[in-house]
Assembly symmetry: D2
Homo-oligomer: 436 residues x 4
Amino acid sequence: MTTGFFGDIKPIQYEGPDSASPLAYRFYNKDELVLGQRMEDHLRFAVAYWHSFAWEGGDPFGGQTFDRPWFGPTMEHAKLKADVAFEMFSLLGTPYYCFHDADVRPEGDSFAESKDRLDEIVDIFAEKQAQSGVKLLWGTANMFSNRRWMGGAATNPDPDVFAYAAATVKACLDATMKLGGENYVLWGGREGYETLLNTDLKQERLQAGRFLSMVVNYKKKIGFKGTILIEPKPQEPTKHQYDYDVATVYGFLKDFGLENEVKVNIEQGHAILAGHSFEHELALAGSLGILGSIDMNRNDYQSGWDTDQFPNNVPEMALAYYHILQAGGLKTGGTNFDAKVRRQSLDPQDLLIAHIGGMDACARGLKAAARMIEDKALSGPLAERYAGWKTAEGEAMLSGKRTLEEVAERVVKERIQPQPKSGRQELLENIVNRYV
Amino acid sequence: MTTGFFGDIKPIQYEGPDSASPLAYRFYNKDELVLGQRMEDHLRFAVAYWHSFAWEGGDPFGGQTFDRPWFGPTMEHAKLKADVAFEMFSLLGTPYYCFHDADVRPEGDSFAESKDRLDEIVDIFAEKQAQSGVKLLWGTANMFSNRRWMGGAATNPDPDVFAYAAATVKACLDATMKLGGENYVLWGGREGYETLLNTDLKQERLQAGRFLSMVVNYKKKIGFKGTILIEPKPQEPTKHQYDYDVATVYGFLKDFGLENEVKVNIEQGHAILAGHSFEHELALAGSLGILGSIDMNRNDYQSGWDTDQFPNNVPEMALAYYHILQAGGLKTGGTNFDAKVRRQSLDPQDLLIAHIGGMDACARGLKAAARMIEDKALSGPLAERYAGWKTAEGEAMLSGKRTLEEVAERVVKERIQPQPKSGRQELLENIVNRYV
Amino acid sequence: MTTGFFGDIKPIQYEGPDSASPLAYRFYNKDELVLGQRMEDHLRFAVAYWHSFAWEGGDPFGGQTFDRPWFGPTMEHAKLKADVAFEMFSLLGTPYYCFHDADVRPEGDSFAESKDRLDEIVDIFAEKQAQSGVKLLWGTANMFSNRRWMGGAATNPDPDVFAYAAATVKACLDATMKLGGENYVLWGGREGYETLLNTDLKQERLQAGRFLSMVVNYKKKIGFKGTILIEPKPQEPTKHQYDYDVATVYGFLKDFGLENEVKVNIEQGHAILAGHSFEHELALAGSLGILGSIDMNRNDYQSGWDTDQFPNNVPEMALAYYHILQAGGLKTGGTNFDAKVRRQSLDPQDLLIAHIGGMDACARGLKAAARMIEDKALSGPLAERYAGWKTAEGEAMLSGKRTLEEVAERVVKERIQPQPKSGRQELLENIVNRYV
Amino acid sequence: MTTGFFGDIKPIQYEGPDSASPLAYRFYNKDELVLGQRMEDHLRFAVAYWHSFAWEGGDPFGGQTFDRPWFGPTMEHAKLKADVAFEMFSLLGTPYYCFHDADVRPEGDSFAESKDRLDEIVDIFAEKQAQSGVKLLWGTANMFSNRRWMGGAATNPDPDVFAYAAATVKACLDATMKLGGENYVLWGGREGYETLLNTDLKQERLQAGRFLSMVVNYKKKIGFKGTILIEPKPQEPTKHQYDYDVATVYGFLKDFGLENEVKVNIEQGHAILAGHSFEHELALAGSLGILGSIDMNRNDYQSGWDTDQFPNNVPEMALAYYHILQAGGLKTGGTNFDAKVRRQSLDPQDLLIAHIGGMDACARGLKAAARMIEDKALSGPLAERYAGWKTAEGEAMLSGKRTLEEVAERVVKERIQPQPKSGRQELLENIVNRYV
């Protein structure tokens, strides 16, 4: 028995590239092998509870546009929401979902009441997971919507807010563990500042470091096997967020000795807002060994805020999955659609269509990336370009066996005059276009 | 006997705020005490050799506009350039200057010839320094203009280029030491990439780390007492530079164990291109203990490239110097005008006027900042805002004496409900406006 | 008898530049003469009803932060809001205010009910205006918050929405006229598109042109003496707004023959989002004869969305008022603070302090601009720079008395070789700094 | 007999999508019919003389990287350049090319000498055109590189520069006509300002209007049948260019009564720099009836300057050609590759490979666009969405048969309550992905 929200739509099937049905997969074929592994296991798709079920369609200039039967303040609303959510997961066949505490239960009058409500929902989720086979990719705490967080959570000037944040993360991490979640994410929604005039950067950074250390210690204590992830974002809602981008998070982790404990959850839209391409952030995290998971979406290139659109540009996604595969794949991470239908997309089936399009675009990108890897389309020319570093002298310099003055002396003695070689960028771009 | 380039202009004097002379200081009064120290010693102004003497007025759509008698390929041209440069330093009364090797001598046919020419100029500079009392704030190597650097210097795929870069930096560091330079700067003009398709990020990062370690070791060996500085920039000329911003450089330094050996030289325009305010970068570097020196200029807020204009917005500069003073001042660093007159500013006196305006704006900003500090205009409210962290429980949490579960338990037990307090941003902004 | 919302704060007085009181004017001295006119009559300050009284402190990642007794769904709430609003106008001594229909009354269940409620509030406003002497600078319709406008108002694909918009503007224009409003503003909050895929640009442009023509005709019919104003904005909430910037609006007005009927209301923040400086938009509108009024605020230069902060950078405001004065001043327009306190600025007096700071910054900018005009500080050098166009041949070419071939022939015959002259940008920047 | 510059490469052939040859077309099949027309006649490809033959590889931080035998100051160099250029046109099979005067001949010591040299080259070009069958898409004048233009050409404060510009355009238009050019382009490289402080916007706008009117009159007089095109660009080299974007140019044309005489040449990269998508500019120009031609390239989305890369994102190009086809196609215009190989792409064949990749991406986009049109994939849903405007009342309102008050009355009488319908953006995005 279903809620009927999606009418009589049947579970979405793979129909192949020629299908013109809006309610079928054209590229996502979960059992198809790619580089010897099932597509489902590569992509590890997750639906984001907040965008599809909690968001009401508002933006800074307008309020609710969606008309959903589960919008309301009671636990009954929350349960109906859960029913519809799991129906959608099953219709789509996505193996995972993700949630914040605030997405799934109404806020209580006290911390204890909020927590009790969360626990009640967690029990319902556990049952639904068991019935449907859908799993939890990650849980997280919403520490940005309620006014108590307006000046930050872990980085708040008020230590009581820090304490409240600690209690909140503990509750959410407990819930995540109970549900078998494979990761736990921290996104610092209000961890940043509006103005330096009222901000003590050094103090707030210490608070953030302490907080994360406490979380990592607790994770170990309770035996949570998942990965702790930080999600970088440069700005919005604050003028300046502390977890600006992958490089910034890396320096922070190094500073607090956490670079082997915590990885990053990289969002396409956040990369763009930070002035990076998505593949830059992925490649950098891969090279630093901290690539954890991805929030897949798309930021409008002409908008300066977080648009959280569903991804659809296949050439870009091919490069994204290329760098993910090069870094060894998503491991405990996954492809979470941190994306929302536009506020004008009012119909229930818009929710399905948006995810179908996103999943197909990812699948198509993945397949293109895999073929590039199989063909060494890019890695071959790359190895050739850096071949000089495999010579004895190259290795000696790189490994620290040469001093500056030794190298300088050799330049003079051997009259070294380096000759530029073509970087062949256009050729490589054309090669990529053969795969997408 | 002078070159006559600046006609009969006399050394620029301080005439006070009411002066309407374009060739007088209205705020920069070098011996005036600010927070108990001479303004000259706070600001430590330097003229950038490249913009004022080597740049010919070109931009991506047009060539030379300036008509200078020293433009030409010979050492005689280079000597005339040096004559005019030191004349300008003396007219302005700036205590320092900065240079790249390529600014001061024509490139030779081999490394050895280039180095010989550099050495010849260094001897001339040494003499001029002794005569004029002008000092060298920092030296640096131009490893971006010549085509050999087109794919990077330390991060080049070709180890011969790495070697050539090592030899080049050694030569420039030797020259800097000989001239009593107080810092040595590395700006990674081509250390970055045009496309990830032909780039091995991990390999290039290792090269950069090795290179910097070699430089630091050499510095110690020769007993150079100055500070080694990295200058962050997010992009341009490359699509993506490795030394993106202060946070990125910090993570890089930590990774190679160099965070106590190397500091940053922060440029206003580079901060803006990276999506940060200048004061953000200054405050962050201050809080991390790596604030070294500044490149003072101004980036047009509506342009997406490095405009290198002379600074003129006093309220912004007051905040910049506020954070510098809060971090303990510039120490071995200084205020280098990495700024160029517009390519339409053809007259010799435009060079003087531009520097005068910039120096006055800095001086005015410094004085405003000093008064804010004296009055605790911002630090007073700040201390009040974070006062909770000075309580016993605040200190216990911050110092690591509390676990996540202990804090969570206290939240429930004490029924903690944090109450938001006003951030008073507008009040603080109004307070700043009382000083500028 | 007051509501007590602002406690016992007395009307804000001018105390001069040396005042350290947060609740006093340091520069805004309404009766002081500037270029022979009272400051109040130059600046014509208005408070925006929406930001100070209707906005609850929400942003895309969080909800209400403000705790105001008038937040609620009834007409009683609306009346209390009006009481507090007029108290604030009187405390500040601002001569004007501005409002949307949706700011001042709760939405009804039908158009008729909404209009009745508006009419009821208009009667209250009329009375309060008479008592306080505060006047209406402009009225406008909120055609972006309610979900009916999600796809546009005048440019909606559904003609019923167009009709509803027409009825709404008529009601608001009637209200504005009844209250003696001096202008009527149209801001196309949803007049734009989210995606071209579902948009007929040509059709929607025609709708917009027709709608504006209908409004202009109605204005004439009822004898409204105020100015009709369009407010440009490039994007947000939509991906692309039709009234992108001043130049775009001008082309639109020309196309529909309305360039003499309608002017522009220029907002600082919207100029920045469009990639222009504020002074560019002001100077352009002035040169086209369509400068109507200004929405004064400040957009964060590092944020890509509409931050609507209170202005505080005096040098920038001096240039803004310089171009306004050069264009003949604000006439029926005014300086409306389309600005909101930050969502962390919770206290009632933050509302006052924010306006005080903004008014002082404007006053200081105005005075600097006026002195530049009196001294011909910029206009003198400008006239000199263009002097060639006052020669007989310059005038002949500009007035159309020469053909291309005649001019070309003269170039050859007279062997014309134009010699560049310095643009003296740095000198002019230094001159401006003498005034701010 | 050839110059040998490209070695023994044979003319590039169409080999179909499965070809892995870097020197073959995979999609561009010039005689293949698309919507009943040959691909060559749809796309009308042109090579830009400047980027491929005149640019030396410099950028703001570095000089020449390319090593070409034709770089040099003499007419012999210019002739060798022409030989190689026409060889490349023939190898690629592009039907058109475009040039500036400064690309093809060294500047002379006087206007007359420069013109003589241009005439000499034009004769050579005429012969080569006849031999090869390659045609001139458009000619133009470089009025931005030489220092005489540093303050603008038509908008220069010095009327002598205006005169020199007039003579220059006359010469280039004469050359274009002689060579059978199908359009003449004006790009206002220096028509803009660096600072408003030294700029008289109104005066310069008048100059620009007068100049364009003179050009149009001359065109008519000599019977030039091609189209006069303005190329919008928002900024760079100047801080603010007058021909900012399509909407701005439209307003300018309307102002001077030239909207039926002049069209626009839209460049992808310029659209991006102006904050618009490329398809926005195309759709807008189409809807205004001023779409003339396109400069096809790609601007890096994370760079704030004009990167002029070769296009390669097929989904984006499909939308671009979709709007071109919807506007009736390119007519006298064409697809000019205003794109340059990266400065590290040193090899002769990089020039070919870059064009091949761009042409293939365009061809693939065109074919996708054509199939969307054939299937009414987008136009069908669009017609449905706006169907309300085809009703009697919709048409009455749009055509001006209803007044504001009549419409308002009907809203009340009929109790109109518009009901939002889904905008179905994600569905449409998925549909597009079926075609690309």
